[in-house]
Amino acid sequence: MNKILEASLNGEVLVIKTEGYLNKDLGQDIQNAAQEHINNGINQILIDLDKSNIVNSIGASIIIELIEQLQESEGTLAFCNLAPIIEKTFKIMGLTKYCSCYPNEEDAIKAMS
């Protein structure tokens, strides 16, 4: 099942935890979950892909839209717990030029706070 497990604030960072295949549907769910908080002034988002070990380029393309949106409010998007193939895919696409990747949530929050 592809879904958002949790979307909650850790300080001023919105942490979105996912499960399953990061395809178009899950990408849109991430976008929707983020949107709600962006409307409330949150501009730091961490996507935890610990339980998502597979992605497609359509899901990743939706992340590009989220990066654009966060840039408008001088915000940042980061990832943690990436499977090696997802990190490699994001690197090939150039996503990692615009987002940082951290080994775990703790390191990410420390760096983003």
Binding site: Y21, I54, S57, P84, I92, M93, Y98
Partner: protein, 142 residues
């Protein structure tokens, strides 16, 4: 000539059917004792190849996938009966030109396949496309 061991799949064009192909690829990769890294690259390339076949070929029929196992490489053919395409007309995507512009955010499939596999080839006509991609096996994979 001895026929190489081949696994053949016939996928209906239904949502997330590309995952059936990746599960088969995992089994084949394990059989060939490919590294986790190579196995992941094959799965990712296969997802993109399937999506291209499902979405862009406008094919109404099934997509066929052949995994051809050789001693030193895995050859995968993704075959659709769609409208075909001209690979030379496919623009290489760049994130810099997609961010903060009206350019479509999608269009990464072909580039990802080429980056993740050791060789990629196409035969395309108005009656379908065959994408052939190869992942070489290293001696240290075993």
């Amino acid at each position: 000539m001895e026929k190489k061991p081949t696994v053949e799949l016939k996928l209906p064009i239904l949502k997330n059917m590309e995952l059936v192909a990746t599960q088969t690829a995992d089994v084949v990769s394990k059989h060939m004792q490919l590294s986790e890294e190579k196995s992941g690259e094959i799965s990712m390339a296969l997802i993109e190849a399937c999506i291209n076949a499902f979405e862009h070929s406008e094919s109404k029929s099934e997509v066929y996938i052949h995994f051809i196992i050789d001693d030193d490489n895995l050859m995968i053919k993704v075959i659709d009966k769609g409208i075909g395409f001209d690979a030379s007309q496919v623009k290489i995507p760049k994130i810099e030109s997609k961010i903060n512009s009206d350019e479509r955010k999608r269009g990464w499939g072909l580039m990802l396949i080429k980056e993740l596999m050791d060789s990629v080839d196409f035969e395309s006509s108005d009656s379908g496309t065959t994408l052939t991609m190869i992942k070489k096996k290293d001696q240290n994979d075993e």
